[in-house]
């Protein structure tokens, strides 16, 4: 009885974890299926065909490539802008400060449908044609908000006296920024960048509003395919993405703990 009580929390945690992981496990298992018909919902027999030929279905790898490209560019630009805005908001008192804060909050609070449609209207009015460029601009816009939030939290914990100490020891402003400010803010910036990438990568609604027939992103492809019967390769890509995300988390955890041990 007491053994049970002591391990109850562990059981609960494992159960929740399993419950959350079941969809991923199912996706992974069915990536080895060889379905009959168009739907990959019932297990037929084991096959590695989808894994050896991931780009088989027409348009799948093009859409994946487009999503990765947009994700990288959008998150990079959003991270640069977002970091600068976060420092400005966290460090300086200026007239437009509260207005900027509100503006940063808006994209997070606005329903995606509203934002997607208004962006489309705006692009039409300005003569920006739908497609990859429009999608990238839209993604940068909402990603910036999330980067700002992540970095601002970090900037708030930075002791400005550290920068004073660096200047006092002879570091000019660029050196101070590179050697003190940036390394200390790095975890926040990295978190913001990863968040921005995943938000951009899996955005469907806003993207759909601003896409053209030649700019089908991965989420749009999956959605479209699901209506006609999704190819097994979608499961393959999904599994790879999941493992990649897991690997990034594990490696970063390992690095942190090793650094901590090395310092001790």
């Amino acid at each position: 009885m007491s053994w049970l009580r002591r391990h109850l929390l562990l059981f609960a945690a494992v159960a929740v974890l399993l419950y959350m992981l079941i969809p991923n496990v199912v996706v992974a298992v069915f990536s080895f299926n060889d379905p009959v018909g168009r739907y990959n919902y019932t297990w037929t027999e084991f096959s590695t065909r989808a894994w050896t030929n991931p780009c088989g279905p027409q348009g799948l790898c093009d859409s994946l490539g487009l999503s990765l490209r947009i994700g990288l560019i959008a998150s990079l630009i959003a991270t640069v802008f977002g970091t600068m805005i976060a420092f400005a908001l966290g460090r300086y008192r200026f007239r437009a400060r509260s207005g900027t804060n509100l503006l940063i909050f808006m994209p997070m609070a606005t329903p995606e449908v509203v934002m997607g449609s208004s962006l489309l209207t705006l692009f039409l009015m300005m003569g920006v044609s739908s497609g990859g460029l429009a999608i990238t601009i839209a993604h940068i816009m909402f990603c910036v908000s999330f980067v700002v939030v992540a970095v601002k939290a970090r900037v708030a914990t930075l002791d400005p006296r550290l920068e004073e100490a660096a200047a006092d020891l002879g570091a000019n402003p660029p050196q101070t920024f590179l050697r003190i400010t940036l390394p200390l803010a790095a975890p926040g910036i990295l978190a913001g960048a990863l968040l921005a990438f995943s938000l951009s990568f899996d955005d469907y609604i806003i993207t759909n509003f601003n896409a053209s027939p030649s700019s089908i992103t991965f989420p749009m492809y999956v959605w479209g395919a699901a209506q006609r019967g999704a190819p097994v390769q979608v499961n393959v890509i999904g599994t790879v993405m999941f493992i990649a995300a897991l690997a990034i988390v594990l490696v970063s955890q390992l690095l942190t703990s090793r650094r901590r041990r090395a310092a001790a």
Partner: protein, 372 residues
């Protein structure tokens, strides 16, 4: 004498206001090159603000800062050959102790950075801790890293903002000796901010006592102690017995007579500012002797408290007018008085200092809060 090195540090009318609050009133000060200068004063009197202006971290509202003939008032902190040991340490948390100490040398491209940094760490007895991160060290260890990080650069002026505050007594004394040795060896100018008046007096060539943004008095430790120019300095630097007195006439021999609650005492005429009649007569506790003197400057009272501290005994002696005088008697073998004994106190004329009675007698008294 030929002038080597950067020259004296000179502050001319240096002022700092925050909005409508003046943290540092116009300050004029020359600190000779290679001297050990202590800045003493109660919390919030503007010591840190003064140092920050010298370091370039705070823009003065008015005034100038010169090192030698060079006006550095408008230069940036990294352009000044001035280093600071911060009151809050301000160690870089993402760097090892070694990298912290090397930081300044590296910025100047010193080829020998590693060896110098190791030496500096050895000096503060942290030679083994170079690979640790600051947050793995105790407060006292962090403070020593901060010290090493500034010291290793051999700046023209080293600013120390309570650099020994977190150390225990033994380490503190040891560091005081080390600091003094380094300062003399290298001939750096040190400006040392401290709450510890004993530290200031033992280490410094000269001391400035600050109060509420103003410099109350400047001088060498002995002059400040023997001849405080205000009740604030008298009370802040050591203990003082301040007797209300009235100058009544001359007594020849360069002395004046004064009346202290109906008792006539003799005062060195040279110590009384011209024209002053109502005065505070200040006598330090160790200048008061238990027992009769040469028939002059004697006051009678009863012992109301006695505390023995080994080298000395401190008495409180209640005067007929209700005031307690503090007396320190060296443990030199003379008979000790006991509680309730009627005693005579005496001091030699010339061992007193005289201040204007218009000043507040409690200025600068350190209020000790006792539990219960």
């Amino acid at each position: 004498m030929a002038q080597h090195g950067p020259g004296d540090l000179e502050l001319i009318g240096l002022t700092k206001s925050f909005d409508d609050f003046t943290a540092v009133e116009p300050m004029d000060l020359t600190i000779p090159q290679g001297s050990f200068f202590a800045l003493l004063g109660p919390s919030g009197c503007g010591k840190t603000t003064t140092l920050r202006m010298v370091a370039g971290l705070e823009q003065p509202t008015a005034g100038q800062i010169l090192i030698g003939d060079t006006d550095i008032t408008n230069t940036r902190p990294h352009q000044r050959n001035v280093n600071t040991v911060f009151q809050s340490y301000a160690l870089f948390p993402h760097m090892s102790v070694m990298d912290n100490v090397q930081f300044g040398l590296r910025r100047r491209g010193d080829k020998d950075a590693k060896r110098k940094a190791q030496e500096a760490l050895d000096l503060v007895e942290l030679g083994h801790a170079g690979r640790k991160k600051p947050n793995q060290l105790s407060g006292g260890m962090q403070q020593r890293v901060a010290l090493a990080r500034a010291l290793v650069n051999r700046p023209d002026v080293l600013l120390l903002d309570e650099p020994l505050g977190a150390l225990d007594l033994k380490l503190r004394r040891q560091m005081q000796i080390e600091l003094k040795r380094i300062q003399q060896e290298v001939g750096l100018t040190f400006i040392h901010v401290t709450h510890d008046q004993e530290e200031a007096m033992t280490m410094a060539d000269s001391i400035a006592v600050m109060n509420a943004g103003r410099m109350e008095q400047l001088g060498d430790p002995a002059a400040l102690y023997e001849n405080p120019s205000s009740t604030f300095v008298a009370n802040f630097l050591g203990q003082s017995n301040l007797l209300a007195a009235h100058v009544t006439g001359t007594a020849g021999d360069g002395r004046l007579t004064a009346d202290v609650h109906g008792h006539e005492v003799l005062v060195d005429a040279g110590r009384v500012p011209a024209g002053l009649r109502d005065v505070w007569l200040g006598v330090r506790p160790e200048k008061l002797a238990l027992g009769e003197g040469n028939g002059v400057n004697e006051l009678k009272g009863t012992v109301s408290d006695a505390s023995f501290s080994g080298v000395a005994t401190q008495y409180l002696v209640r005067m007929p007018w209700g005031m307690d005088l503090t007396v320190v008697q060296q443990n030199d073998g003379s008979a000790r008085a006991r509680l309730g004994d009627a005693v005579t106190l005496s001091w030699d004329p010339g061992h007193e200092f005289v201040l204007d009675s218009a000043q507040d007698e409690d200025a600068g008294v350190e209020h000790v809060v006792v539990d219960g």
